[in-house]
């Protein structure tokens, strides 16, 4: 059996091994390599307990045997192969299931509270443990999107957008558990499908499903028009840039100071959702052709797809980057599945979460490693995601 010279290294200080090349069988797979590392660590440190590792060869996760992987990636087997290893990401563990009265259209969570919007025309506030805290009625039609604005002590500001063409700004005091409508933002000539709050929490961006994006504080500050069809998703890239995805097959990036359009990224299918990761500075988009595509918003020419992640069998309705990991993202689809992806393993997702019994409409991911997903089966699932991985 052929042997390959490999050198192992890691970023994780706890699991460092000597920097010497080893000769390992070419046919060895992840489990065997993991055993090798564990042996090495045990030899070095008697108190080492067994840890499962994942291996990266030139930035790609090893999923088959080493030789097969190197062949597909066309890496020469004569040289010493640099293999990076990281602790294996453990599967997200389902925690809570929160029953709603109707389909869940959107969810937004921060460290303490979860805010969900539902087709029963209300928004709800939940604690992260899954206890219902508050129901926010007020809209006359389906709530399509919700967002936390900011929190000062016990008082939080939150936003709900609805099909009734309004966005409501609410003030919620968690101690007294009282919610008050502060403002009603009007101005859209159509249902408001998506809103997003800028990172500093002062301006609200708000979206509409009809060709125009409006940016508001109380009255619209600015209207960003250019899309020829419904805008499906909008977000702040940073405090100067707004990014919007539309059914007219384009993603546009706008400058909020001037209100002008900076870049247009053109796809071939309808975009349902986008997400931006400040860590890797990439946009991820989910579209109706079942692919998740990664874009670089800084390119000027615009139509460059960096990577396609394909595994879903229905429309991708929600996509979210991990807030603390530059390679991971989570996606939800009409095929009832949530998938956890690592961009270093683009062929297959890390994990499929098949909790939902019906279409998935929203996913979210908090800094504290809590993943949320809600859909047409009226359930909001939360998953605990191993926290130490976030450090890595």
């Amino acid at each position: 059996m052929s042997q390959i010279q490999a050198r192992f290294f890691t970023e994780d200080k706890r699991y460092v091994v000597d920097d010497v090349p080893f000769s390992i069988p070419a046919a060895s797979e992840v489990q065997e390599l993991s055993n090798v590392i564990n042996k090495l660590l045990e030899a070095k440190n008697a108190s080492h307990s067994k840890v499962e590792f994942d291996f990266l060869v030139r930035g790609q996760f090893l999923r088959t045997s080493l030789s097969a992987h190197m062949e597909t990636e066309s890496i020469l087997t004569e040289e010493v192969v640099e293999i990076e290893y990281v602790e294996r990401i453990t599967a997200p563990e389902p925690e809570e299931c929160m029953m709603h009265d109707d389909w869940i259209s959107s969810a937004d969570a921060d460290a303490e509270w979860i805010l969900t919007g539902s087709y029963d025309k209300t928004a709800r506030i939940w604690s992260t443990e899954g206890k219902p805290v508050m129901t926010v009625p007020g809209h006359t039609d389906v709530v399509k999107d919700v967002a936390w604005v900011k929190r000062e002590g016990l008082t939080s500001l939150l936003l709900t957008a609805s099909l009734d063409q309004t966005v409501l700004l609410w003030e919620w005091n968690s101690e007294r558990n009282k919610v008050e409508a502060r403002h009603c933002c009007r101005g859209h000539a159509g249902s408001v499908d998506t809103i997003s709050v800028d990172p500093t929490g002062t301006k609200v961006r708000l979206e509409r499903a009809r060709q125009k994006l409006k940016r508001q504080q109380r009255t619209p500050l600015m209207t960003l028009s250019g899309h020829s069809e419904a805008v499906s998703s909008v977000l702040w890239c940073d405090s100067e840039e707004v990014c919007s995805a539309s059914w007219d097959h384009t993603i546009r990036i706008w400058d909020v100071d001037t209100g002008g359009m900076k870049t247009t990224l053109t796809g071939s299918k309808v975009f349902n959702c986008i997400s931006y990761s400040p860590l890797c500075r990439r946009l991820a988009s989910g579209s109706t052709d079942r692919h998740i595509r990664l874009w670089d918003p800084r390119t000027k020419d615009g139509s460059l797809v960096l990577l396609s992640l394909t595994s879903h069998t229905g429309w991708v309705t929600a996509v979210k980057w991990a807030p603390s990991h530059e390679h991971q993202l989570v996606s939800g689809s009409l095929d009832n599945l949530i998938k956890l992806w690592d961009t270093r393993s683009c062929k297959a997702p890390l994990y499929d979460l098949a909790a939902h019994e019906d279409k998935v409409f929203c996913v979210d991911w908090t800094e504290s490693g809590l993943m949320l997903s809600g859909g047409a089966d009226n359930k909001l699932y939360t998953y605990r995601y191993s926290a130490q991985q976030a450090e890595a």
Partner: protein, 719 residues
């Protein structure tokens, strides 16, 4: 195994050789004698005088005979002797061929050449072989014959002129050969066959000898030869064989001078048509099923001779001998001759066409993207078959009308039913007002057309649609033109549900359709007996009129031209196009199908597709002809609905076989270029219910998506 076989074969061949040797030893002389026999038949007279001579040969023969006599008891010794003898023997003796007589070296020449000499040839040492002294006359011969018991086995050797007495073995051999048996008694001609090549596939090749090295390297000798030839060609020494010029002389056209008309007649000869071969019923003893029953016979007799299937009655006879003469023989021959004479024969011109060439060159479907390929969403909620669907001009909402008496409004992107209106009757048709500045839906059920305001749009839009509906009230009172159509406002519960207007028709309404501007609305009431089949309503003035004063057939569906003031009316077999301004018919399209079910007008207005219940989809190019430009027969069952996409060059047809077929249909501005129609996708998903499949199909206004509604109470979105 093979080896063993080879070995046995080898062994066997050795044995054979030995046997042959033996046979050879024994037979050498007899063989010669044999030949002599033959020869003597013809040339006896020549050597008749020599017969007695050859005493030396006789001696030889005698000694051999003695040896053979000893055979029985002295087997061993003899074989030893044989072996030693064989060893002594010179190899040329074995080598000699049958026809060569080694005792006489003159060769195979006519013996009469030596007839004047005292000798008959030369022996191996070059000495003359003398003819035996001719001392035997006829009398001696006769005496010999009488007295000599060996006479019958004495033969004359012409080559040496000597008489030879055959031994018992030799006589036996001759007898065997004469009987056509093998010369050797011990030879077994039925030995089991040893198969060198068997049908079994074995793991080893017949020979494992590796191929020679020379098999892999180019031959030097060949190279030399070739280079010589090449050199010769270069130098001009070697020239290609000249083609013999045959233009003059050797071959000529025998019939050149013949009259060309005769030739032409020969060439145009048409063979007479062949009479069909006789069948079983013409047999004298046909199988019973070919015999006529009484009814068949009665029928046959009743029929006119020209109409009869058979010109005779099949009969059964026990043997051919009993078959009488065919009474109609002369008559039949005469008929045949008459046929040949009276029926002109025709030469059929057959053009050799490659079937591949007949298939038009169509682009590959994947080059025609985008078109819907997979089922994405299923809109569930109806409990009856969904007869009609319509998408709002913005593409955000979908309305559907079902047999369960409800109209539902769906959010396209989430398949959420946002609103349901119970209208209290099976909904035949729904149509969304194409004007984006109003939000109204026309619903046909029973004999009523309802105008619904679903309030699923911007407040401004809702307001403007309300204004459109109420505009008339401020104006003059509705002029009840013919009194058969009654407009009324909805009240109470219905108003809360969104019903705004009710247009009461005299008969059941089957279809409603809007004009592109959104003010006019046409409704269809199919009725064969009346001219009141189509009404055109004006919403803003609440007026209805019947544009047609005569009944031209059962109206199936109608449609407005998207741009110009034309009106399409599809009856069972044709589509009529009326100019609404001039109030006249401009064109009549013949659909070539039995019963039109649905029709759609291209957004450009110059093309029409119509589906029919006989599984056909016809595409009409209005500029081209009144006949279909193309007929597509892809569906297996009746086509129920057809639709064009507003922006993309796509059209779709829905059928009772449960499939929706999406076709690409590019229309060119250039009048000379015909539309390009390519079927690109068959979409399946609907479940067949009560023999009904897909009932309606419609496209999303902006995306290449297609909706279909089926008898299984679902609506499906394909993207």
């Amino acid at each position: 195994m093979k080896k063993a076989g080879e070995k046995t074969a080898l062994k066997r061949s050795k044995e054979e050789e030995e046997e042959q040797n033996q046979i050879f030893n024994f037979n050498r002389k007899p063989a010669d004698e044999d030949k002599d026999d033959d020869l003597s038949d013809s040339e006896d007279s020549v050597y008749s005088g020599l017969e007695d001579s050859g005493s030396d040969a006789e001696g030889e023969e005698g000694s051999e005979e003695e040896e053979e006599d000893d055979d029985d008891d002295k087997m061993k010794e003899r074989t030893e002797e044989e072996v030693s003898e064989e060893k002594k023997e010179d190899e040329y003796e074995h080598d000699s061929s049958d026809e060569e007589d080694i005792r006489n070296t003159v060769g195979n020449i006519p013996v009469e050449w030596y007839k004047d000499f005292p000798h008959i040839g030369y022996n191996l040492d070059g000495k003359k072989i003398y003819k035996p002294i001719r001392n035997k006359d006829e009398l001696d011969d006769f005496l010999d014959k009488m007295e000599n018991p060996e006479y019958w086995r004495t033969v004359h050797d012409k080559q040496t002129g000597s008489d030879i007495v055959l031994s018992d073995d030799q006589v036996e051999l001759v007898n065997r050969l004469q009987r056509g048996q093998f010369g050797d008694v011990n030879f077994n001609e039925y030995e089991p066959m040893v198969e060198f090549f068997s049908s079994d596939v074995m793991i080893h090749p017949i020979t494992n000898r590796p191929a020679d090295k020379r098999s892999f390297i180019p031959s030097l000798t060949e190279k030399e030869k070739v280079s010589k030839l090449v050199h010769a060609i270069k130098m001009g020494w070697l020239k290609p064989r000249r083609v013999e010029d045959d233009g003059r002389g050797r071959y000529y056209d025998l019939w050149a001078s013949e009259d060309s008309s005769i030739l032409a007649r020969h060439r145009m000869h048409l063979p007479a048509p062949k009479i069909p071969l006789p069948g079983h019923h013409e047999s004298y003893n046909p199988p019973p099923e070919y015999l006529f029953t009484d009814e068949e016979r009665a029928l046959w007799e009743q029929q006119d001779p020209g109409d009869r299937k058979l010109p005779f009655v099949p009969r059964k006879y026990s043997s051919l001998r009993q078959v009488p003469a065919f009474s109609h023989f002369i008559h039949e021959r005469f008929e045949r001759c008459l046929d040949l004479y009276l029926c002109p024969r025709q030469r059929k011109m057959r053009v050799n066409v490659n079937p591949e060439d007949l298939i038009p060159q169509l682009p590959k479907p994947k080059d025609l993207q985008p078109f819907p390929t997979t089922q994405s969403l299923v809109y569930r909620g109806h409990s009856g078959l969904v007869r009609s669907i319509s998408v709002s001009p913005s593409g955000q909402w979908l309305a559907s009308g079902s047999d369960d008496g409800s109209v539902r409004f769906w959010e396209v992107c989430s398949s959420r039913c946002m609103k349901m209106v119970q209208v209290g009757g099976a909904v035949k048709s729904v149509a969304w007002n194409p004007n984006p500045s109003v939000c109204l839906l026309a619903v046909a059920l029973d004999s009523v057309v309802l105008i619904l305001s679903p309030s699923l749009a911007d407040k401004q839009v809702i307001l403007s649609s309300e204004r459109l509906l109420s505009a008339q009230q401020e104006g003059e009172e509705p002029a009840e033109g013919n009194g058969s159509v009654v407009w009324s406002e909805a009240e109470g519960e219905e108003l809360n549900q969104g019903v705004r207007l009710k247009i009461q028709h005299p008969k059941a309404v089957h279809q409603v359709v809007w004009h592109a501007k959104g003010d006019y609305l046409a409704s269809v009431m199919p009725d064969n007996t009346s001219h009141l089949q189509v009404y055109i309503h004006q919403l803003s003035r609440r007026r209805s009129q019947n544009p047609f004063s005569r009944n031209k057939g059962l109206v199936q569906c109608v449609s407005f031209h998207p741009i110009r003031p034309y009106f399409f009316v599809a009856t069972q077999r044709s589509i009529r196009i009326y100019n609404l301004v001039k109030q006249e018919m401009t064109k009549k399209l013949q659909a070539n199908s039995k019963w039109i079910s649905s029709m759609a007008v291209h957004p450009g207005g110059d093309h029409v597709i119509c589906g029919s219940y006989d599984c056909k989809l016809s595409w009409f190019d209005l500029d081209l002809s009144t006949k279909p430009y193309k007929m597509l027969r892809h569906h297996k069952k009746a086509v129920r609905g057809v639709a064009y996409h507003r922006l993309y060059p796509l059209f779709a047809s829905a059928s009772d076989d449960g499939s929706v077929i999406v076709c690409h249909g590019t229309v060119y501005n250039d009048l000379l270029q015909n539309p390009l129609i390519v079927p690109v996708k068959v979409l399946r998903g609907h479940v067949m219910t009560h023999d009904l499949g897909v009932l309606d199909v419609t496209f999303h206004p902006t995306q290449p998506w297609v909706f279909s509604s089926g008898a299984d109470a679902t609506i499906r979105l394909f993207t």
